[in-house]
Amino acid sequence: MISRIFTLVIKELQALLRDRQSRALLIMPVFLQLALFPFAATLEVKNNTLAVFNEDNGRESAELMQRFSRAQAFTKLLTLHSEAEVRHAIDNQQALIVIRFPQDFSRNVVAGRPAKIQAILDGRRSNSGQIALGYVQQIINTYNDERIDSRQENAASTLVVRYWFNPNLDYVWFILPSLVAIIITLTALIVTALSVAREREQGTFDQLLVSPLTPGMIMVGKTIPAMLVAMMQGTIILLGAVFVYRIPFEGSLLLLYGSMIFYILALAGFGLLISSICATQQQAFLGVFSFLVPAILLSGYASPIDNMPVWLQYLDWINPLRHFIVIVKGLFLKDIGLVALLPNLYPLLVIAVGTLGASNWMFRKRLG
């Protein structure tokens, strides 16, 4: 039995790695993504443009403008002279944020009266806008504090903020572990779903079914090559993360690869289930997509799972990527042990058993 499966695995690997084009398509994109996406995927605000509409001619507003221009988030300072220019700058996305000093600003500050400045933000980018506003607020707070400090003794209390697991809130540390998981997802799903669909389209699947191989053995034969290729791609990203991007890998490699196997089994289950329903490669590919896109976007990678409505959080439980991203990030950054891993590991096992069982049943039904 083992030798039969082994032959099948060899045949599948040959089909996958047959020609240069196919090999290139399995390797090249991984390197491209490794080089590009960690830099692209950031919710930080850097290199943005701040515009100032200063109706005030005092020293205080000039001082604040100086400070804004020194902030890292804004590399460009745009000076505006009228209301119309403000509208134009925001409408055409020339600036993310426009600061407007009213005429009496400096006079109010000097007199010790409350002084107001207006911040106009582009609602089309409200998340970045809020972050940029946070920076502006910080600059103003510091300025306020300095003015108060020169008159008063020190503050009664302070906040000491520490970021654990990622002290500088570096986005790359968040993205790369997730990327390991995403790359594995793409490959494992496509390879399992499309390889069965291809055989079906070409009519060779029925030949396989009438051979002495049982549906279970065929499934193993389809899963192992997907697992090998996906794990290789995952390893490339892992090595890149550790040696090129210098992200510390804190956890245990054994746990990582162990849970990776469970994860790929869960994916292979979905892939085989999709291919058991589809007759052509096109259908299988579209089926993979209908699963893949929501799976990636609802994995906690695009936005936190805590922000989703509760019903969707429950529904998302069957999304294996959601669990695996927590595992990879936990192992990478938090050095979690097996016990802390279990709440995210057992769902993978349940999903794998469920989907593999269902697709085995579907294949048997076709045979019977």
């Binding site: 196919s22 398509l25 994109p29 692209a40 950031t42 919710l43 930080e44 943005n48 604040l64 055409n92 996305q93 500050v109 010790g112 409350p114 002084a115 107001k116 400045i117 207006q118 911040a119 106009i120 933000l121 582009d122 609602g123 089309r124 980018r125 409200s126 998340n127 972050i131 506003l133 946070g134 103003i140 108060i148 003794e153 009664a156 209390s157 302070t158 906040l159 000491v160 903020v161 970021y163 654990w164 697991f165 002290p167 540390w173 968040f174 496509i190 589809c278 096109q282 259908q283 579209l286 997509f289 209908s290 896109v293 976007l297 936005s303 936190p304 805590d306 922000n307 969707l312 927590v326």
Partner: protein
């Protein structure tokens, strides 16, 4: 080279393609059901506005002063405070992700607070493995903290010196809901899926099945062949674009302030460029499996990562920014966000439209070049 188009032949080819689409229930599902389902999932699932964040609180000092501060945390609508007994307990919760941060009021807090020349520190620890949430945790806690400081000052009869305050105004989107710009962006992703992925397989399929050779042996011209692959899928795509916009506006209540004509124009240009990408992959690779993988890597992933749909393009390094200029999805995201929220801002719409037209010409032209009329 380009012979005049015979409309009879073109019609016949299109009819064949349409039959192929209609016969296959999966393409109807993809064009009409899937976009709406996806839009719903995106609309509810992708949200950057943190709803109440789980925050741990350890009161090592249980004095009235410390409790007063804690009341401010409990009072914050953005925080869901979970009380703990020890730091170790909270550290564990943070590692497991049950809380996104915790605040410790140290044992000697009141003592230091009441000593005139001393500063009483409060420790805030946030989970850096979720950077966006971590910065929100910091903002919310510091909001609650400054509220407490002001109340305290007021109760002690100190008038806080008047400071400078900011009045923020989010144009187009006054309540700064990320949904309002993420949904127009999601429509771009859905259109990419429909445009590039559906067509990535159609030419490769003909090659794989050998029907391409039959077609090439017939009097069909290259233009007719390409148009017959483009037009039916264009129709499919444009219908589902309007379907998505309809769902976004009428069911999900995202305001749409632009003109429908501009939407149709920009949408058509984007669809053409994405169909072009799909056809090009299909023509180049001639193998459905490989074409599918390539479409995934050149259309879908870049649309998600490099289009500005989620991640701010200006924050990327210059080299990566330069690459985003090559992505059709980038222009469509900007145009869609503008059409939905700001309305007809012509400079943006026209420049995006221009780039998309160039991209369409480029991809379809390249496909035409690579569609060889001779057999090898």
């Amino acid at each position: 080279m380009s012979a005049p188009i015979s409309f009879r032949r073109l019609r016949a080819l299109c009819r064949k393609e349409v039959w192929q689409i209609l016969r296959d229930p999966s393409s109807n599902l993809i064009a009409f059901v899937l976009p709406v389902v996806m839009l719903f999932i995106f609309g509810y699932g992708i949200n950057l506005d943190s709803s109440a964040v789980n925050l741990g609180l350890v009161l090592e000092d249980k004095s009235p002063e410390a409790r007063h501060f804690a009341d401010n945390l409990y009072g914050s609508p953005y925080l869901n405070v979970i009380a703990g007994q020890t730091r170790a307990e909270m550290e564990q919760a943070l590692t497991e992700g049950r809380v996104r941060g915790f605040v410790v009021v140290p044992v000697d807090f009141t003592e230091k607070l009441l000593r005139p020349n001393d500063t009483a520190p409060l420790l805030v620890v946030a989970d850096g493995s979720e950077p966006n949430t971590a910065s929100f945790v910091q903002n919310y806690v510091s909001g609650a903290w400054s509220g407490w400081m002001q109340q305290r000052a007021a109760e002690r009869g100190e008038t806080p010196p008047a400071g400078i305050s900011i009045e923020p105004r989010f144009w187009f989107n006054p309540s700064a809901e990320s949904r309002n710009y993420l949904i127009p962006g999601s429509i771009t992703i859905i259109m990419t899926v429909i445009g590039a992925l559906l067509t990535s397989l159609v030419v490769a399929r003909e090659w794989e099945r050998g029907t391409m050779e039959a077609l090439l042996a017939s009097p069909v011209t290259r233009t007719e062949l390409l148009l017959s692959k483009l037009l039916p899928y264009y129709a499919l795509g444009i219908i589902s674009l309007f379907l998505c916009v309809g769902v976004a506006v009428f069911i999900m209540h995202v305001p749409f302030r632009g003109s429908l004509l501009a939407l149709w124009g920009i949408g058509s240009l984007f669809l053409t460029s994405s169909l072009g990408v799909g056809l090009l992959m299909s023509t180049l690779l001639r193998n459905q499996f490989n074409a599918a993988q390539a479409a995934l890597n050149v259309a879908f992933l870049p649309a998600m990562m490099l289009s500005g749909f989620l991640f701010e393009i200006r924050s990327m390094p210059a080299v990566v920014q330069a690459i985003t200029y090559l992505m059709p999805a980038r222009y469509f995201v900007t145009a869609m966000q503008t059409l939905f929220q700001a309305g007809n801002v012509w400079p943006i719409l026209l420049s995006s439209g221009g780039y998309l037209a160039l991209a369409s010409i480029f991809f379809i032209g390249l496909t035409a070049l690579k569609t060889r009329r001779r057999l090898e």
